[in-house]
């Protein structure tokens, strides 16, 4: 199994799906000739032509809206938002339209659309190139939101998203693009959307998180293991709708739960995770449900000291895990 980077897994999934199904096409800003500002679509323009790898005008609501139209008549568009931060002009199309098309038409129409967007910080991107935007959408039935942590998951989940019959927001951590590598089969496979994945089994504490933070948790778990503390690391993978069962299972098992997100804390994905646990496993808990998150300020600053202060990192994660274990 070749070891490839997170972004190469994106590219591989896109290429394979475009080869498999001629209805799959890509649209977005600079995705064609340039191959994307992160090079996620590199080579696809050359291989599939400009008809299937469209450089669009600079207009996110049109990118989403045009993709929705195409999806409604049988295409499988994969729309790229250049940065997750720039998905905001497309919110109306995504929430009012994509998420509601099946429901409002009583199942007559559907919208099998994928919106890919690089999110996340730690890359010196400042306020508008570092954000986690999932919480804006993670309250809209009809949508699915996938946020993979590993190249293996990227490939299997992006393929699943493209084949899904409903709209999927697919957020890729841009700091993971080149820093995270892993085994990825060359064969075709899909992973189930809507299912969390236990990335590490453990009995003492549970960490539930997603995206880049999964790696911080796994790293810290190794350190704690050396001291005899066994951490279970649950990777949500799909952050909306959540895999309640997996959350409840792990929380009940260890009784000590730490939830982590890189996003601001209030109103984040992990708030819902906490609520699920508080609703279903209260009497199994041995410690308050801990949340570790970015501070509640609008977004990550540019200057390195402030960025670091905001950004999640292995040290913050390890410290929180240790504190919970000692509770």
């Amino acid at each position: 199994m070749p070891v490839i980077s997170y972004i190469d897994a994106v590219k591989m999934a896109l290429r394979e799906e475009m080869e498999r199904d001629r209805n799959v096409f890509i649209l977005g800003e600079d995705v064609g000739k340039k191959g994307g500002v992160f090079k996620a679509t590199e080579g696809l323009y050359e291989q599939f032509g400009e008809e299937r790898v469209l450089d669009t005008p600079l207009a996110e609501s049109a990118i989403a809206g045009v993709a929705i139209g195409a999806a409604m008549v049988g295409k499988r568009p994969v729309a790229e938002m250049q940065f997750a931060d720039f998905i905001m002009p497309a919110v109306n199309q995504i929430i009012s339209e994509a998420a509601r098309i099946r429901y409002r038409s009583n199942n007559d129409w559907s919208c099998p659309l994928v919106v890919r967007a690089p999110y996340g910080g730690g890359i010196h991107g400042a306020l508008y190139h570092s954000q986690s935007v999932e919480a804006v959408f993670a309250n809209q039935p009809g949508l699915k939101i996938v946020m993979p942590s590993t190249p293996y998951d990227v490939k299997g989940l992006l393929k699943a998203a493209i084949r899904d019959e409903d709209p999927v927001l697919f957020f890729e951590h841009k700091k993971a693009y080149r820093s995270i590598k892993g085994d990825v089969p060359e064969a075709d496979y899909v992973l189930p959307i809507g299912k969390a994945d236990v990335k590490r089994k453990g009995t003492d504490i549970t960490v539930i998180t997603y995206g880049l933070c999964v790696h911080f948790a796994l790293g810290a778990a190794e350190k704690l293991a050396a001291e005899g503390i066994e951490t279970e690391v649950v990777d949500l993978r799909t952050v909306y709708p959540l895999d309640k069962q997996a959350i409840i299972e792990s929380a009940s098992k260890t009784g000590k739960v730490l939830l982590i997100t890189e996003d601001n804390k209030e109103g984040s994905i992990i708030s819902e995770v906490a609520a699920i646990i508080a609703e279903h496993c209260l009497f199994d808990l041995d410690a308050p449900i801990q949340r570790l998150a970015g501070p509640d300020v609008p977004a990550m600053p540019y200057a390195l000291p402030m960025e670091k202060y905001f950004m999640m990192n292995p040290e913050k994660v390890e410290k929180a895990m240790r504190e919970l274990a000692e509770f």
Binding site: F25, S61, G65, M72, N92, R102, R104, S105, N107, D108
Partner: protein, 336 residues
Amino acid sequence: MELKHKKLGIADETVFHMYETMLITRRLDERMWLLNRSGKIPFVVSGQGQEAAQIGAAFALNREEDFVLPYYRDFGVVLAFGMTVKDLMLAAFAKAEDPNSGGRQMPGHFGQKKNRIVTGSSPVTTQVPHAVGIALAEKMDKKQTVSLVTFGEGSSNQGDFHEGANFAGVHKLPVIFLCENNQYAISVPVSKQLASVRVSDRAAGYGMPGYTIDGNDPLEVYKYVKEAADRARRGEGPSLIETMTYRLTPHTSDDDDRSYRSAEEVKKAKLSDPLDTFRSYVKEAGLLPDEKEEQLEKSILTMINEAMEYAENAPFAKPESALQFVYAGTEQGAEK
């Protein structure tokens, strides 16, 4: 003098069929108001005064293959595209059998896949980029279909109009942007909506031809939409057509238009009611002898009565069916 429809190459029976559809549209619309005012249905949004634009446009298309993305006043468009009076009554009564939404959406939120009537929502103008996306998809598949999307003049101020029109222009897509300019966006007159004199002044900004035409003449509308469709099928890209009409009713059954426009203004507009003028035309053309007209009115009345009765007695969707169809495979209902 040659009759206009002959000059345009429209067959007599097509003209009659246009008139018939227009009459059904109007009579159905009028019935909806009666039902509303008598408390039988909670809401009406009406297209009175805009039927000529709707019928003219729809008939200029290939009603077996093209797509329409109508807005809420477009009874005329959807009836021409195969939706039935019964379907629309079922929607008005919000019954389970309503093909638009199974009673989930308000009336005027059309959608019927089998007739290529694309599901719409309430936020205005979101359908514009959808029309562009459908045209893109059809073009990719080398099909010859056209997408017709309609919207009000107020709605042409939304960002989605601009973004969608420009996208279609860049990619030379087979889309017809049809503005039904009825002079008002609820209470706001066109002078406070549009900085330009005409909506069609915007066409040049999207590299497409733009026309402002008489929206009270279905044949005029037919002509321009037909030419636009021909251009589109020849790969020459989109067109913007602004039809000048007047909203003869209040905005919806919830609106009282007396607070923002005068009764005289409305009365004056009624003088060019498109139904009257088209009726005169078909009569003069000898296509509507009195007895045929009488018969037509009667059969429409019957059709509407039957549809109404059917719809009124049809069952609602079960309460818990509100849980269905959130995602594919949720026929059994979403988790609560």
